[in-house]
């Protein structure tokens, strides 16, 4: 799709001319978050004063363990509730909106620990992603003729997507029989069944072997080429450097740096907080204190 590709490139180009500092305004933001705070007891796990995510680009969210990246993802996607703050998607406020509503509006996420539905087949997993199914209404469900045409169309699309992710030959297997890496692929393919505007991938590369990583990177680029915005949390710095157009760095709940991959990796604050091995010990301690706070809270 050349037209979409142009949009994607323009969005990426626009980012290169920005002055990289935390909270910088983007030319065409799909997601805007303001003053988002999530507290666990006395600890501010997330404290993001301002963040904009550029439409059509690939944005990476990095930071040490316990920096609040996954919690931020959970809050934005409706799986956790913020204590303070507002955030909007496509210029509409979505503060503390239920995840199923967000998914229907095109904001779809995956999980750090894959949530493939083990005792459903790979194809059934995919079909669950299709939107607006008549057969999901209790009364239409009984009458197959009312949903079989739609089901066939959805199956066709699901098989195409599975083909792209090299899972087509697995379509009749239980999802529980897939390997960890294949589950990551399935979860990504399933998210695409919803035709999302914005996909939020939580550690898509964790536990994936090197060969599969390369194809996952290609899939993420493909998603962008189709005009979908991608935001992902990742620890694999090679991947971040390779695929992302923009990098956001979090530490202790706050955003400490933003910029293109090259500029972020030169940023002294990022080197101190995350990249530099010398500082790992102190950061690990803060990560542990988060866990302790969560436990006390629960």
């Amino acid at each position: 799709m050349p037209a979409d590709a142009v949009i994607g490139n323009a969005a990426v180009e626009a980012l290169k001319n920005l002055d990289p500092h935390p909270g910088v305004a983007k030319p065409d933001p799909v997601l805007v978050a303001d003053g988002v705070v999530r507290q666990f007891g006395g600890l501010r796990a997330v404290d993001v004063s301002h963040l904009e995510v550029q439409r059509g680009a690939i944005t990476a969210l990095i930071g040490p363990n316990g920096a609040g990246k996954s919690t931020f993802f959970n809050v934005i996607s409706g799986f956790d509730t913020a204590n303070e703050g507002t955030w909007s998607y496509n210029n509409q406020t979505i503060t503390n909106t239920a995840p199923n509503k967000l998914a229907r509006r095109g904001l779809v996420r995956t999980f750090q620990l894959t949530k493939s539905l083990s005792r459903l087949t790979v194809l059934q997993n995919m079909l669950l992603g299709a939107k607006g199914q008549t057969g999901e209404n209790l009364f239409s469900a009984i009458f197959k003729f009312s949903w079989s045409a739609q089901e066939q169309a959805n199956t066709k699309r699901a098989m195409e997507l599975l083909g792209r992710f090299n899972l087509a030959q697995k379509s009749a297997d239980f999802a529980g029989s897939l390997s960890g890496g294949q589950r990551k692929l399935l979860e990504m393919a399933r998210a695409l069944m919803l035709n999302p505007d914005l996909v939020m991938l939580d550690e898509p590369m964790a536990g994936v072997n090197p060969a599969l990583k390369q194809s996952l990177l290609d899939h993420i680029r493909d998603i962008r080429e189709e005009g979908t915005t991608v935001m992902f949390v990742e620890h694999d710095m090679d991947m971040v450097r390779d695929v992302s157009d923009w990098v956001v760095v979090m530490a202790q709940g706050a955003i400490i740096s933003e910029g293109t991959p090259a500029s972020v990796m030169r940023d002294q604050r990022v080197i101190d907080a995350y990249l530099g091995a010398h500082h790992d010990d102190a950061l690990t301690d803060s990560g542990q204190s988060l866990t302790t706070a969560e436990e006390t809270d629960a």
């Binding site: 995840p99 779809v108 009984i142 239980f174």
Partner: protein, 327 residues
Amino acid sequence: MDFGFILSQSLTQAIGVTAIIYCLAAIGLNIQFGYGGLLNFGQVAFVAVGAYAVGVVVVEVGLSLWLAILIAILAATVLALLLGVPTLRLRADYLAIVTIAASEILRFLAKSFDFLGGSQGITGSIGGDFSDLNPLPDWERFELGPISFTRVDMWLVLAGWLVIAILTVLTFLLMRSPWGRVVKGVREDEDAVRSLGKNTYLFKLQILIIGGVFGSFAGMYSAIAKGAVQPDGFVPDFTFFLYVMLILGGTARVMGPLLGAAIFWFLLVFVEQFLKEGVSSGVITFISTTQIGPVRFILVGVGLMALIVFRPEGILGDRKELMLDAR
């Protein structure tokens, strides 16, 4: 020992009124627990509501049975909403606690209200309208191979299995649909299904209502068949027998509850009759007649433990599916 007699007694129970009552309730539980993963430990509450609704409406109020059935369905729906609306947003274990407590509360309430018959329950011609429909010829007994029924019982058994057939077909139709797919997805991982844009709360409420209404059919059927509603028939054991039948037949299998209920009652009666015959003919000397009741449960319990060890997926289940890494 008269093995012909033992066998015919056991077969009669396997397809008889009691097995039908449990089977109807188990079909509902299969939808809730087997397909949807809802831990309903109080299915007997729905059975009781069905039984009491027809009992009160027909005997105390004096309306027709058909109207009473409609009212019973409504009552079961209301109970499902009462139990589900506050608890289905919480974790699965909360529903288990609430349902088992609710079933006991309902039983004690029924025992303490006079218009519900107190601890005596309700007795009367609840199934009058039903018996009037009996289309069978006026024979003394209806012989089916080794077993036979009276005209009244034959009609009850036929109608019971007809209702079971209807509910089973309905279960099949629902579970092959995209609706059933979402329900099974909720069982596997609710958050994943929510992230795919489904309102899982509504789906859980729907299966609680459907399973509950199916369960109320068991109560209505038992009230009609026995012409009485006894509060102490609705103890928590009833629900746990249902779980045993489901696991025996195979959970999340359309035919699981049918097979489970029939085999469970066959085994229970077979062991009982075998012990009775054995004791009275002097072959079995180590137990007395009064011990037969408890001993049959011990033996059937041991058998079920063996089933869980050697065939945990039940008769119709798929071992490969059960053993999947569910994480």
